[in-house]
Symmetry: C2
Subunit: 516 residues, 2 copies
């Protein structure tokens, strides 16, 4: 029982009751850890009174705020299972996830009232939802929903009975599904506790640090730091929305010392003219990831005294997998580093055997913080976790010192005439052409080679480019079998919200020549 | 298998191979984490080649140095069980421990060659020892022992097979036995991993900190920080001996930032005239404990910019139990604080029920880092661990905020006419008499009351004091039933090495009046 992750908040509140636990930047509300824990207890007791049981799935469609953190800990304490929902998804996608998870209760913010209206209409047919709690709706609240704040205010603040331990489910987080339908990655109190340990030991969170929470909390990369902050005695400075100028202002005003941002945000911040005139002396480091951070960006932040660390991870790994310091990143351009403290990685061939340094293979991860599997999907689980190792689906190369560089998705790899062709390698060559703005390389069916690489190119504004120009540019820079067999020009490459090219869509659009 | 604590050194070496892992102050030797791990691997392989098996007990009688740390990790990797020996003990005591533990191999430093000679003579009759490795003996080495450094040098540095996991024994540490024969407190890879987590999260160890290892490594209070330092990427600056002037010099030269010292050491350091003229700006905090740190000492260190934190713990709890910051300690004189992050405490009466704040009771501890029991002593284990709680044998009081103050050993408590009488309370009153240097209160058998309190007093040099003076001093300050029924004057109160009065010896010496 002592391994219930909800008790981390109770312990933090008992050790440092007066420490500021959470600040909402936009609303100005501030909560000590004692207050946060009391509110989480109230919510837990309110949910128990509604009949929420151990193991019940409770979905959450909310912007970042104190209620998200309360919900996490309240559900953890009573053993209910959080299903965080990505509010960028459309009703069809959300209905699928709610139905698949078998959620019985939806906690949602009034910002999403319209979307929830649709979900409510479809609920009886497509989901098991029977209970709705709305946050911030006031008198405009949906008639089918109860008011979050009234429930919390009316419930007692005594600690609820602790109903879950190490091996019980904590949350089911649906992964973005670039390769098909979303899958629910299951984490237990035990797996996520180890993720917290790993984050707290590898990225240096210090007692009294102040962490800016910017990414949406339905991402493991946002949720994990917040829980780690509770563990380490760090204050969460929570923003509902990222705005680069405001970010500098918040750093100054709230004495923010650490954060996690995606590379695009780092870039936007440097373009704010008045930004660097702010007092950001409190800022020690920013963790980044999802896509590689350009070295020039790392250097520019270093000049102003902020260290950019980069991490690579997956929902399935609980977050942590690889991390690299700015020093190492500048020496090994494009690398995502070595492991976090509590995980191992290997790079293996199709048969599961280790490949030597310098040779690409699939990156696999082992850790006590790897998920226990996909919800109601034993086939996908068996494919993802083999012999205790998580198969990431990412192609990577390690150097002799163990620094890992991610190249491609395994599913995006092109096998041409029996040779593995890595799109990233070809893309890097084509990107060096001065008239190319963006490029994505996919595999096309080929009678002769099985598959052949094919380039989809976006030309820079005001430039002109022919297929022959692109192919000629590749000559001498790529082996013949890696040279694209054709080029298509498009206005835009479809990408997911974190910026990854949706190659599945490109493959559908450019399937290759009809068989001769 | 991933929960093998020996792999913490391998992971540290893999993540930060070039980070300085250990410095021996006296010898000047320096080892990176890569070198430390390679040496631990060599020792592990050498031990495997000698037939050391998983579960075998290996005793260690060495001064602090790189070899102690290597031995810890080498044994952990191959699943052998470390038995650290207190080199202040005499041959009889050591022979008892070696025999009780069933140790088959003794690693010892040449400093203890004479003592080991005796042990070797007695080995066949009293122990299972058959194998001896001497460190630093050179050509004067005992003929029955092999040379440590030659063995390490000759063995391969490849990682040995990892033979132990979470539930396997890691070490057996014999407790000082103020209440009888030494008992072997058993810790597993799992329990001690949680102790490391707790230390790393509650006492703030930062990446690149430099920790002065001063207390002997056979103490859990010295061993735990060293393992935590490996976990958090801290450099161990190891001293063989404490000398207050040298300590300041080492802080300056090695840029020491954190340490753990007993209160007497803190006091000695302040008496070094040239000490505070050293550059100790690197020093952030010193953890202290065993006996309460006087507030004046905390204040004096605060003035020069060093924070004194105090901890309370036991070998049986894996080290951590309670800790207090200097801020809190100055507001709550004598308190040992609140819990570490991963443990709970309660204060209970004889029936195991919680007592209210302000009422004394026995302090009990629950944590994943509590020992699994006493080696080959199920009776003592059953007495120490009841319903998952470790009974510390210490009488404590908590205030309404949860701050704990330790008062007495339960075994030292006097039960007089059915009332619990706490010697510390009486001692505090008698100590306020200007002519009293030291005092210890014990229980004496009494036909009328069962037990009665009895005071053993050391008079200050040049002062005079009678029994009537002492008893008169207590009048009006203590309830009648707490007033000692007699006073004895002695030149010295017998104490153990950490300064605790050995009341068992006093009770033997002053058993009370013969029955009428």
């Amino acid at each position: 029982m002592e391994r219930n992750l909800g008790l981390f908040l109770a312990k933090r509140a008992s050790i440092t009751p007066g420490l500021e636990g959470l600040v909402e930047v936009e609303s100005g509300r501030r909560f000590t850890y004692r207050e946060l824990d009391a509110r989480a207890n109230r919510l837990a007791n309110a949910l128990l009174a509604r009949g929420v049981d151990k193991g019940d799935r409770v979905a959450c469609l909310m912007m970042n705020g104190v209620e998200y953190v309360e919900t996490f800990f309240a559900l953890a304490k009573i053993g209910a299972v959080l299903v965080p929902l990505n509010w960028r998804l459309v009703a069809d996608e959300l209905a699928y996830i709610l139905g698949n998870a078998g959620a019985r209760l939806l906690l949602y913010g009034a910002d999403f009232a319209e979307l929830v209206e649709t979900l409510h209409r479809r609920a009886a047919r497509e989901t098991e939802l029977t209970d709705w709690i709305e946050l911030g709706g006031g008198e405009h609240r949906h008639p089918f929903a109860d008011d979050y704040e009234s429930l919390v205010a009316a419930a007692p603040s005594e600690p609820p009975p602790i109903r879950a331990g190490e091996h019980d489910l904590l949350f089911i987080m649906y992964t973005s599904g670039t390769t098909g339908l979303p899958k629910g990655s299951m984490h237990t109190h035990g797996t996520f506790t180890w993720a917290v340990m790993s984050m707290g030991t590898t990225a240096e969170l210090r007692f009294h640090d102040r962490y800016a929470v910017v990414l949406p909390l339905y991402h493991v990369g946002a949720l994990l730091p917040v829980i780690s902050n509770v563990y380490r005695g760090v204050t969460n400075v929570v923003l509902r929305q990222f705005e680069p100028g405001r970010m500098w202002e918040v750093i100054e005003r709230e004495r923010v010392s650490v954060s996690l941002l995606v590379p695009a945000m780092l870039n936007f911040m440097l373009q704010v003219p008045e930004g660097e005139r702010r007092d950001y002396s409190s800022m020690r480091w920013i963790l980044s990831g999802a896509t590689p951070v350009p070295v020039t960006l790392i250097e520019r932040y270093r000049v102003i005294g902020i260290e950019i660390h980069q991490a690579y991870g997956l929902t399935e790994s609980g977050g942590p997998a690889c991390i690299i310091s700015p020093d190492d990143a500048m020496k090994r351009i494009g690398s995502t580093g070595k492991t976090f403290f509590h995980n191992d990685v290997r790079i293996v061939d199709e048969t599961g055997r280790d490949v030597p340094p310098g040779v690409p293979g699939e990156l696999i991860v082992q850790a006590p913080h790897v998920m226990v599997g996909y919800w109601r999907n034993p086939e996908a689980t068996a494919e993802a976790i083999r012999n205790g190792w998580l198969y990431t689906g990412d192609v990577a190369i390690a150097d002799a010192e163990g620094f890992v560089t991610i190249h491609d998705r395994v599913k995006d790899m092109v096998i041409s005439g029996g040779e593995n062709v890595y799109p990233a390698e070809i893309e890097n060559v084509i990107l060096r052409h001065p008239a190319v703005a963006e490029v994505a390389v996919i595999g096309q069916a080929s009678e002769r080679w099985g598959e052949s690489p094919f380039a989809v190119v976006v030309v820079k504004h005001g430039e002109r480019l022919s297929e022959a120009d692109v192919l000629g540019h590749c000559d001498g820079k790529l082996a013949r079998y890696k040279r694209p067999k054709g080029v298509a020009f498009v206005d835009e490459i479809p990408r997911n919200p974190t910026g990854k090219a949706l190659k599945r869509i490109l493959r559908e659009r450019f399937p290759g020549p009809a068989p001769e």
